[in-house]
């Protein structure tokens, strides 16, 4: 339990350091790096590298954005096994549905309820 938390801390922190280095050394914006890391999660997921990291590090790998790309790739993989080619179009969003729908609904609610500070 405690070791799970330490591994999540180390791996999640390391992914964020990597992203921070790309921002600082590569001089690109945080938004570009967020896009880059989702794509990297999808690519490393497809190569079979991100899955073992998720198994080992749990939330340390699933909570950072590469985990989002990995989730889409895994969802497509599962869906193509049962639905064939159509799964290419349904699998990604199905697997990421919880996160995406929550992001849209909660963000909309927060933006409507809270007032920005001047």
């Amino acid at each position: 339990m405690i070791s799970d938390l330490l591994i999540a801390f180390g791996v999640g922190g390391a992914l964020c350091v990597l992203a921070q280095l790309v921002v600082d050394v590569g001089r690109i914006t945080a938004a570009h790096v967020m896009v880059l890391f989702v794509v990297l999660g999808a690519l490393t997921g497809g190569l079979g590298w991100y899955g073992p990291l998720v198994k080992w590090a749990g939330a340390g790998a699933t909570v950072p954005l590469p985990g989002f790309g990995y989730t889409m790739v895994e969802g497509i993989d599962r869906a193509t096994q049962t639905e064939g080619v159509l799964g290419l179009l349904t699998g990604g969003l199905t697997a990421a549905a919880g996160g995406i729908k929550a992001a849209v609904v909660f963000s909309l609610a927060a933006a409507l309820v809270f007032n920005p500070r001047a």
Binding site: G13, V38, P64, A97
Partner: protein, 154 residues
């Protein structure tokens, strides 16, 4: 003839770029890295505690990932609304932005800021300033990976 007209420095001008680089304050790369590590690791520990909660309540490790994402997104939206998550991003840089709670922050913050431009083109559109590109390229790359896997696998 351009004589007598003071030349305005252009973004692509080599001299101007060199001058700008000399005057740019040095980026504290090491300090930023340490902060990103501590804040990002901390957010992931919260995520792991949420995952553990769902596992204790009968989800497998794989199935706990989705409700964990939901909770982390909810926390990110809530703390952005309260004005606290932006401080976390200021302190931790990508340590605050890279976790999925930072994805929610990147949706809520511009939507709140542009609320005066209306509910449709202000809030509705600005929600997707960062989320739009992330979803477009995430789903796009996942599609391509899926095609390759389908072709290679068959």
């Amino acid at each position: 003839m351009r004589s007598g007209v003071m030349r305005v420095p252009q973004e692509k001008d080599a001299d101007y770029l060199a001058l700008a680089a000399r005057h740019r304050p040095p980026t504290p790369v090491w300090r930023n890295a340490v902060r990103a590590f501590v804040v990002g690791g901390g957010v992931c520990v919260v995520g792991q505690l949420v995952t553990d909660f769902f596992e204790v309540h009968g989800q497998t490790a794989t199935r706990a990932a989705s409700p964990t994402a939901v909770v982390m997104v909810g926390l990110g939206a809530l703390f952005t609304g309260l004005g606290l998550y932006d401080r976390l991003v200021q302190a931790g840089g990508m340590g605050g932005a890279l976790p999925i709670s930072g994805f929610a922050n990147a949706m809520v913050a511009p939507a709140m800021e542009y609320r005066r431009e209306g509910l449709v083109l202000g809030v509705g559109a600005k929600l997707f300033t960062v989320a739009g590109p992330v979803l477009a390229y995430g789903l796009g790359s996942a599609f391509l990976v899926g095609v390759v896997r389908l072709v290679v696998g068959s």
